[in-house]
Each structure stands twice: as structure tokens, then as C-alpha cells.
Amino acid sequence: MSFLTIVYALLFYVATALLVVGLASKIRQYAKTPAPLKIPTTPAPVTRSGVVMRMFRELVFFESLFKSNKWIWIFGWMFHYGMFLVLARHLRYFTDPVWTWVDLIQPFGMYAAFAMSAGLLGLWARRILVDRVRYISALSDHLMLALLFAIAGTGLMMDYVVHTDIVAVKEFFRGLMYFSWKPIPEDPVLLVHLGLVALLMIIFPISKLLHAPGVFFSPTRNQVDNPREQRHLAPWAAELEKNRS
């Protein structure tokens, strides 16, 4: 067992643990914090199923973003859905036999990788070129784009420039999953790709990437507009009522 294999194996265990525990604790926090008042941004759906539709449109079409800015929308959509396809395609490293639908989308993966990269570049260009967006950007906002772009870039390099042994990659990760470690291919590009991915996993629960779970908990989007029909009372607010006429 090479030193690198041990380092990467441990790295991925630690990164996975931090990602899962961090996200779970954040989700727990959001779920447990009450929303004491009805604050859906209106016009809002008046039924639960209406809210499910609203959330669906937000997640799939980025509806609000579409209303507000077509450039951010197009770049953001390309990036997210490109990444989504890429990740789905990546499932082939973790499943054996590979699920049929993962097989079926393999040919689209390449376009997705380019869409993702182009989207990232577009977003980055706005961050640098539009004075308003430049003003609100911290160093971390640039680094986040750099990180994702570097992950996509090293991934694409493996497709087009320096191939890696993807069968061995798969064995390494299956080995991690079943606790019987296999050696990792020692290709620099792959090692960079994986190192950055681990970094992404580690910072996920302590960065703005929390928008992914956050969007589901946003009261302005997930509340039903029915305050007159149904009384809405948070536990801490109910306390105040104890000595009321």
C-alpha cells in the first residue's frame, strides 16, 4: 500500500465525514429554528401542493433568477445543470454494475462538462466586470469559482490530455466503500482533481454552498399563504400568550 493511497483514503474518509456531519447539523439547525411569522413573498401559493410546485420551479428553472437577470440565469443554469449531469455520470465510479440510466447519460457528460465550465467562466466574468458584483465579492467568492473551475479543468484534462486508469479509480473508490483498500493511480492530474474535490467537500458545510440546503428552508418560498385561515404560532411565541386575556 503506497503512502499516497493511504493519504487519499484517509482524506476521503475525513472529507466525507465532515460533509455529512456538517450538513446534517446545519439541516437540523434550520429545521429546528421556528419561523414565527408568515412571510411568503406574495403572490404565493395558497395550498401545500402549490408550494411544492413553486419550489420545483425554483430548483429546476431558477424561476426567481430568471425574473431578475437573464445573464446570471443562463450562466448559473448552465453551470448547475452541467455539474449535475457530470456528477450523475460520475456515479459509474461508485456503482457496480453501473446503473442503466447512468450508462445512458454517459455521452452527454462531455457537453455537460463544457457547459459547466462555460457557465463558471461567465459568472466569473460578471464578478470581475460588473462593478456592482465586484463590490460585493470577497476573496472567497472568487476562490470558490476558481476551485470549481479547477476541478472541471482537471477532469477535462483527463478526458482529452492525460488519461488515467479509470478502472483503477473505480476500484480505489469501491475499496473505500467496502473497507478493502485498493491502490490509487498515481497520476498527478487525477490526484489534483481528487484533492480539490475533497477540499470542496470539506468547505461545503462552512461556506455559501449552504445555499443548496438553504433553498429548501427559505420561509419566503416554502410557506403557504394562508395566515387568515390557519393560525400560525411558534413555540416561543406561544409562551408569551400564557398571561393574556
Binding site: K26, Q29, Y30, T33, P34, A35, P36, L37, K38, I39, T41, T42, P43, A44, V46, G50, F62, S64, L65, K67, S68, N69, I72, G76, R126, R127, V130, D131, R132, V133, Y135, I136, S137, A138, L139, S140, D141, L143, I206, S207, K208, L210, H211, G214, V215, F217, S218, P219, T220, R221, D225, P227, R228, Q230, R231, H232, L233, A237, L240, S245
Partner: protein, 496 residues
């Protein structure tokens, strides 16, 4: 006319480039001890203010999911940066919604997140220093809590929620805003924002009855504190004497007269507006709301109807049931509370009012959707009823109506520039500049359709426009109440 530059109205609205610090000097008067104490806040800056502020921030993020989620979730995408009327009117980058949030977020990060604690430079986190507090006081009083930004944010991040939290933290350390806190103290003492006591109110209403009788020859009552009336009407106190509000109040009276439904105002709850919301204080908002419950119980009414008021309608529609409910002692046939627009609209639908549209032929009208009615409430059973009902009532009362451009009405409406506790003379520059987008939209319909008047259903909008319209070369009386139009058009005694 003013000691600041009045923005120029452009043919096509443009998003300005940022100019740092242009509004850093804008600050409302700080509250004094006598206005702080009745609300339960310290009278001056407390000694260990930083610690007190941090504790309050922690408490609030634990009490409000909105705050917890919004502080973590912003990706700095920039979609909201050109959506705030205060940014469009002032070019000050700290008036971009995300930058306003960041004033709070950067302190939250520094104190409560891993990244901010260990890598403050990287994520732009800072401690709550005196400079930061100054910025808070300045820029959290440059947000009218209009929620326009929340429509356009992909996660619905509502800067109003952050402004409210920031104002609550500031109140907690003894740095309150005079305008809001003085008014809330007045409500506790007297019952309304204007400090109008019962006898003065009775007098005013009597005067209005005489005006209507002189005008129409019909006796229309404006009852006060009448036990056993069917309907309690709660309306902003500006309706009692300011123009054009008072014409709206006379309109409600005529509508009730025609409907033959007994109603009453209450001197205990003689105020619809609830400034507790502006300062983000659940407790104060609740205390003000409970006066309405008490009045309804005391007078033994069957229904509660609210007059024309924007933020008041948000608190009434969205929060009243929570704050002061349940209202199981009222008639379950009607929603609690109802808006006067729902009441009048229903009568019009049932053909129970006779309206002579030609009475308003001297005006060509447009309609300003008040921000909190548009984005924080509803009217009628369907989503978006808050846009439909007022327009239908207007169209039933006049012959000439044109809407302003699509991207300035309905959910995209621009705030008047004076909402959210900013309707005070010490913020005049901000109010004038913040009105810019609405003024541009108005100019557009004035030029394309010859619009002469703009109707609104909010006491703040009406007062704000009466004041700022002249800065942009419009007549101050070109702002009217919707029920003023109804009042002009209604033919009394016809349907009895």
C-alpha cells in the same frame, strides 16, 4: 428647494454605477430615553454594547429561521444588486440589498461561523466596531422593508428581515430610532400614531359628517366607540385629517352607509399602522396588535375591517391571527381581518353600489401598488388578488385608467421611498432619491397617456408622495386615495 441634488428623471431607467459613500451621512435622529423605556429598551448606549449585541444576534438567529437561513445562503450572485429603489436613486453601493445584508452578515460570520472566526480576511468578516455600528445605523435606516429584493433573489432572501433584526439589535443596545419609537410610545399612551385623544377624534369625525352632509345633503355617520356595531374599522390615523387620506375615510363611511351595515371606529385601537414591525420587535408588534383584539372584544363586533394602509395590511393580513388571534369570537363567515377593498369590491360585484364614473372625469388615473400590500399580503381568495381588487374598484369608479410600465407594478412595484419607518423629515434626502424609480414610471404614463393622478392605498405612500411629488415637478395633490374615487363616484341613497 433642497440642499441635495434631486435626481434627474430619465427617459429609460438606467442602473447607475456605484459611488461609494454618497449616503453615509444619512441618519435619522436617535431616540431619547423617554421613547426607549416604554418599549422596554435601554435609554442610551449600554456599556458592554458589543457583548449585548452579539447575544441578541445569537438569540435572533435561534428564533427566526429566516435570519438563520438567509445569513448562510447568499451566494453573492448579484441578482438583487439593481433591484432596490434606494440604490437606483442614490448609487450608494451599500444600498444594494446584498451589501446591506452584508453589513450584518460580516459580523455574524466573524462571531458565529468557522470561516469568519479563523479566516476573517478571506470571507470579509469583521467585528462589530463603532464604525460598523455607524454603518448599521445609517444603512439599516435606508431600507423601507419593501421586499422587492426578495422577489428577485433565487432563495427569496428578504433584506427586510435582516433590517428588522439589525434594528432590534440596535434597540437592544440603546441606539433606537426616534421616529419609530416615539410613535410606538404614543400608541401605548393614547392609541394612535398621531397622539389624537378620544375627544379630539370624536370632534374630527363629527366635522367630517358635517362635510359630507354639506356636500351631498345626506347624513352619513362616522361612528366612534359604538358597542354592538357589526364591524370594527381600523384605519391609519392619518385618515382622520391629512389630505388625501381623509377623503378615503369619507369614502369608507359612504360605502358602509350604502351597504346598510353598522360599523364603528375605536378610540382604543385608532391606529392600523403597527410600527412594531419596522423595528423588528415581535413583542412590541404583538402589544400594538392586542389593542385591536381588546377593542373588538370590548365593542362586541362581528367583523374587523382594515382601512387603506400598506404595512398595516401586512401586519393585519399576515400576522394579526398569529399575534392576537384566535378570533373565534367573530363571525366565521368572514375572513379576519378583511380589507376595505375586499368589502367594497364585493359590494360592487353584487351590484349593491351605484357608481357614477363621470364624477371622476377630471382625472386620468394610474395606480401605485404599495410594496407591502403587493409582496407581503393578499386580497380575496386568489393569489394576486391584491393587484386585481384595487384596480377593479378604481375602474368601477372612473373612466380613465392606465397602468404604469409592467416592471414597476404588481410584484415588481417600487416602494414610494418612505416606507418601513423612514417617513420622517430627517430623512428627506433619502425619501426624495428613493422615489426616483416610481417617479420615472409615473412620468412615462403622464407623457404617453396624459395621466393626471395616481391612486394608492397606503397612508405612508400618500404622505410620502404628497411631499416628494413637487421635487420632481408634479402637483402635490396628484396623489389620491382609492376610496376617494369611490367617494366621488358613489350615488348615495340609491339602493336603499
Amino acid at each position: 428647494m433642497a440642499d441635495f441634488d434631486i435626481p434627474e428623471l430619465k427617459e429609460f431607467p438606467v442602473v447607475p454605477h456605484i459611488q461609494e459613500g454618497t449616503m453615509a451621512h444619512s441618519k435619522p435622529f436617535v431616540s431619547k430615553e423617554q421613547f426607549q423605556e416604554p418599549l422596554g429598551f435601554p435609554g442610551e448606549l449600554v456599556d458592554n454594547w458589543q457583548e449585548v449585541a452579539y447575544d441578541k444576534m445569537e438569540e435572533l438567529t435561534g428564533k427566526y429561521r429566516s435570519l438563520a437561513v438567509f445569513l448562510d445562503s447568499c451566494v453573492k450572485c448579484g441578482a438583487c444588486t439593481d433591484k432596490c429603489h434606494y440604490y437606483l436613486g442614490t448609487s450608494d453601493p451599500k444600498n444594494m440589498p446584498v451589501a446591506r445584508q452584508d453589513l450584518f452578515r460580516k459580523v455574524y460570520r466573524r462571531r458565529f461561523t468557522f470561516a469568519g472566526k479563523y479566516f476573517p480576511k478571506l470571507v470579509g468578516a469583521v467585528d462589530l466596531t463603532e464604525d460598523v455600528l455607524n454603518d448599521w445605523y445609517s444603512y439599516f435606516h435606508q431600507c423601507s422593508q419593501c421586499r422587492r429584493c426578495s422577489v428577485y433573489c433565487p432563495y427569496g432572501i428578504d433584506t427586510a428581515e435582516i433590517s428588522m433584526a439589525a434594528r432590534e439589535v440596535m434597540d437592544e443596545i440603546g441606539v433606537g430610532q426616534k421616529y419609530c419609537n416615539e410613535i410606538i410610545a404614543k400608541v401605548y399612551k393614547i392609541g394612535n400614531n398621531l397622539g389624537l385623544p378620544q375627544p379630539a377624534l370624536a370632534d374630527t369625525l363629527e366635522g367630517l359628517e358635517e362635510d359630507i352632509e354639506d356636500d351631498t345633503g345626506v347624513t352619513v355617520r362616522l361612528p366612534l366607540d359604538v358597542k354592538g356595531a357589526d364591524v370594527l374599522v381600523v384605519t391609519p390615523s392619518a385618515d382622520f385629517f391629512a389630505e388625501p387620506h381623509v377623503d378615503g375615510l369619507m369614502g369608507y363611511a359612504k360605502v358602509f352607509h350604502e351597504a346598510g351595515i353598522s360599523w364603528t371606529l375605536s378610540s382604543h385601537a385608532s391606529e392600523a399602522a403597527n410600527f412594531g414591525m419596522f423595528i423588528g420587535s415581535y413583542e412590541n408588534m404583538r402589544k400594538v396588535s392586542l389593542r385591536i383584539r381588546e377593542a373588538a372584544l370590548d365593542l362586541g363586533v362581528k367583523r374587523i375591517i382594515f382601512g387603506e394602509c400598506g404595512h398595516a395590511w401586512r401586519v393585519a393580513y399576515s400576522f394579526l391571527n398569529t399575534l392576537a388571534g384566535p378570533f373565534d369570537f367573530l363571525d366565521p363567515k368572514y375572513p379576519v381581518p378583511m380589507h376595505i377593498m375586499e368589502f367594497t369590491h364585493d359590494l360592487i360585484q353584487r351590484d349593491a353600489l351605484t357608481l357614477d364614473k363621470s364624477a371622476n372625469d377630471d382625472m386620468v388615473l394610474t395606480y401605485h401598488d404599495s410594496c407591502n400590500v403587493a409582496r407581503a399580503s393578499r386580497m380575496g381568495p386568489k393569489p394576486g388578488g391584491q393587484f386585481v381588487l384595487p384596480r377593479e374598484v378604481i375602474k368601477a369608479s372612473c373612466n380613465h385608467f392606465y397602468d404604469m410600465p409592467q416592471d414597476t407594478i404588481h410584484e415588481a412595484t417600487f416602494c414610494c421611498g418612505g416606507g418601513g419607518g423612514l417617513l420622517t423629515d430627517d430623512l428627506m434626502e433619502l425619501r426624495v432619491k428613493g422615489a426616483l424609480p416610481r417617479m420615472e414610471a409615473l412620468k412615462h404614463v403622464v407623457e404617453t397617456h396624459g395621466v393626471t393622478h395616481m391612486a394608492a392605498i397606503c397612508a405612508i405612500c400618500k404622505s410620502q408622495f404628497a411631499k416628494v411629488l413637487p421635487y420632481y415637478g408634479f402637483q402635490m395633490d396628484s396623489i389620491v386615495s382609492v376610496h376617494q374615487l369611490v367617494s366621488n363616484a358613489i350615488v348615495l341613497g340609491n339602493k336603499q
